[in-house]
Symmetry: C2
Subunit: 153 residues, 2 copies
DNA sequence: GCCTTAGTTGCGACTAGTCGCAATAGAGGA
DNA sequence: TCCTCTATTGCGACTAGTCGCAACTAAGGC
């Protein structure tokens, strides 16, 4: 959920463009991240990587994620700690979005809005803050659970 | 950084009002949290609590913070992991605010805005989401560091 | 195709936070 | 004031994430 849009076609391209080495481990990790359809956590990423190739260490997964964060190619999410302390990751594609986490059913919704864009612009202008990353998460009850509850009594 | 404003005068009052026991450990922790002037982390809170009273365990600190979060009396912050993975806590006072974390100097700024309030309202209305907690954090460079850098070359 | 070398990896030990369980101690009633 | 009962605590073991260091290997030069 952050500000610039990546310019390179693939994550691997971005790595080599920055003079970073494309090791076997990184190649696997980057492919998995690129093809992921849902929010990945580090443990899941490690598992998928090991399924595909063998020798890869937990620390390498974390270090690779760290680099991708710093390059602004992925965003790190807490998802309001719905499933404990762990973090989730998603590729930074187009526009920043807000994550809405339902404490009742666990659903995660993504939300984008011109007002959100306006808010970021305001922070940059009024506060003189040069924005690198934005993370906005909301916890509560999704529309489905709200409706279900009001029907209940 | 969240939505409802607490109604009770002190955290201890809120505990008893909810039928929660006021143990010696909780009394100490709540007092420290109430009188804190800066963002506290769990380890700092534990240390301060042990300085004041003796027997208090790490787990109790985390459990007490958990309760306060659930009651909406404190907010949990990451501060963009400026100092590693740990969390910070602040009493929920008036209006929700955004935390701006400078990656260069480590300064934390707090920012509030009608646009932020409007955004939350929009999420509730358009998405039908019942908001419990909102966390918005921005990482980048503060105005001071931006100015310093532009002057540099 | 081989050498060199600096970036990267795995390992193991560490910090932050969570959880189950038995022991303890608030708080309300007698 | 004492008793009871259940919420709460401490403990120890666990998960998630980080870090220093020695071993390894990608990538560029010959």
């Amino acid at each position: 959920m952050s500000t610039a849009t990546p310019t390179s076609r693939s994550l691997a391209d971005a790595f080599t463009a920055k003079g970073l080495r494309l090791t076997a481990q990184r190649r696997v990790l980057l492919e998995i991240i690129e093809s992921a359809t849902s929010h990945l956590d580090a443990a899941g990423l490690l598992q998928l990587a090991r399924d595909r190739d063998a020798r890869i260490n937990r620390a390498t997964v974390y270090r690779t994620l760290e680099i991708l964060k710093k390059l602004g190619l992925i965003d790190e999410l807490d998802l309001m700690h719905l499933n404990g302390e762990k973090h989730y990751y998603e590729i930074r594609t187009g526009r920043d979005h807000i994550h809405l986490a339902c404490f009742e059913c666990g659903r995660i919704e993504e939300y984008e809005s011109p007002v959100f864009d306006q808010l970021k612009q305001e922070i940059a202008q009024k506060q003189g803050f040069s924005i690198g990353v934005v993370r906005m998460e909301v916890g509560g009850r999704c529309s489905i659970c709200v409706r279900a509850n009001s029907r209940e009594q």
